[in-house]
């Protein structure tokens, strides 16, 4: 028996090494399945919790144009959550189980959404930096070894690039046409979101617990630190064009590495937020649970309506 399992695992790894995608009904090691369920569902949770800080500004957006854009973006995030939940469900977990894990606090979502959106510039900075970092993380996932996850990510990435652009555009309008107060608002938002955005790439490679195995399984393609560096290198130039300062005195070009050096990241803040003590952890989860509970009667009524139709069709 163990010899058979061994060879199944060898066949599986050989497929991964040959860049053949794994599909839902293919044999896969339990640990691979578990890792994917954890990662894809965390990703899905992040998409729908990510709607909360932004929805705060739907009614407060400064113009009809900005409101329409923000609504479209929030709707996209809901769609992205759906693609990802559907990908996770192909691994044999139910949507209800996944949502229950989120609502009971057992499952995590991206810590970035536990920070508050205090002013309108925060919405722009979320698009520019937070979605920018998300895209950097997500593009390599389009080549993930698990087919349904990779296909969901292709769809997400296609839609996500407008999110980053609209954020940059909103900030650029404030910087070029705004009052000094509005420009200060942008700088203040950048100061607050810069470090949390860098933390979105996860702990440093040396301390990242899941990285090595995920790389071997073709779930992860590029290391946390490498992605973070790519993001910093791309963002410094954008900040210069925008006319904002990035709040890191140690940020400077390193000619030898052809990359920017940056100051130390405060990982104690990261772990503090991951472990539930960020500024908005409780509020976000409470909002999610309330939305789910308030919607219960709609879900039940829709099912009852369908059952009634079926009975009527049978009787006729």
């Amino acid at each position: 028996m163990s010899a058979t399992t061994h060879s199944l695992e060898e066949i599986f790894q050989a497929k991964i090494d040959a860049d053949v995608r794994i599909e839902p009904k293919d044999w896969m090691p339990d640990a691979y399945r578990k890792t994917l369920v954890r990662q894809i569902s965390q990703h899905a949770h992040s998409e729908i919790v990510g709607m909360l800080p932004e929805s705060n500004w739907v009614t407060r957006a400064p113009s009809l144009k900005r409101k329409a854009i923000l609504l479209a973006k929030v709707q996209d995030e809901g769609g992205h959550g759906l693609y990802l939940y559907a990908a996770a469900e192909t691994l044999g977990v139910s949507r209800d189980e996944l949502l229950d894990a989120l609502h009971s606090g057992r499952a995590k979502y991206s810590s970035i959404f536990n920070y508050p959106t205090l002013n309108w510039a925060d919405v722009g900075v979320i698009g520019w930096l937070v979605d920018g970092a998300a895209i950097m993380n997500q593009v390599p996932l389009c080549r993930c070894s698990y087919g349904p996850y990779a296909r969901a990510m292709v769809r997400v990435c296609k839609e996500e690039s407008f999110h980053q652009r609209q954020g940059f555009d909103a900030l650029n309008v404030m910087m070029t046409q705004g009052t000094p107060e509005q420009r200060d608002m942008v700088q203040d938002a950048v100061n607050r979101w810069w470090w949390p955005s860098l933390m979105m790439f996860g702990p440093p490679d040396a301390e990242s617990t899941h990285s090595t195995q995920s790389m071997r399984w073709g779930i992860k393609r590029i290391s946390n630190d490498d992605l973070r560096q790519k993001f910093i290198d791309a963002t410094v130039e954008q900040a210069r064009v925008l006319g904002v300062a990035l709040p890191d005195p140690d940020l400077k070009w390193n000619e030898a590495r052809q990359s920017y050096d940056h100051g130390p990241i405060d990982w104690s803040e990261f772990w503090n937020v991951v472990n539930g003590h960020g500024p908005c952890n409780r509020e976000r989860l409470a909002d999610r649970v309330k939305a789910w509970d308030d919607g219960a009667w709609v879900r039940e009524a829709a099912l009852a309506h369908e059952r009634k139709k079926q009975l009527r069709a049978k009787a006729a």
């Binding site: 599909e23 009904k25 293919d26 693609y83 559907a86 949507r95 229950d100 039940e300």
Partner: protein, 96 residues
């Protein structure tokens, strides 16, 4: 955790424009076919990706078994004469 109160799962197929096939693009939960169609439109065609949508209950799909894939598809493997490249033609008519 019970799943009996979950809305059933539907597979979504979208034809991106007339003349092309409907292509599988994902799945969603909906209580009935009308809702499944509307949600498929909202989720999968927000940027004019579709000219037509099909939805079908996932439990109605019959699929081949990946474990018997080799046996199932093997009969076609040794019939190379079904491909035009099997036939070597004189150089003069090689564009046939």
């Amino acid at each position: 955790m019970s799943t009996k109160n979950e809305w059933p799962l539907w597979e979504v197929f979208v034809r991106s424009k007339s003349g092309l096939d409907h292509k599988h693009c994902g799945s969603l939960h909906a209580s009935d076919s009308a809702m499944a169609l509307q949600m498929a439109r909202d989720v999968y065609t927000r940027r004019q990706e579709g000219a037509s949508v099909w939805v079908v209950r996932s439990d109605q799909i019959v699929a081949s078994d990946p474990d018997t894939k080799d046996m199932f598809f093997e009969p076609a493997e040794d019939k190379v004469y079904r491909h035009p490249t099997f036939y070597k033609l004189p150089a003069d008519v090689d564009h046939m």
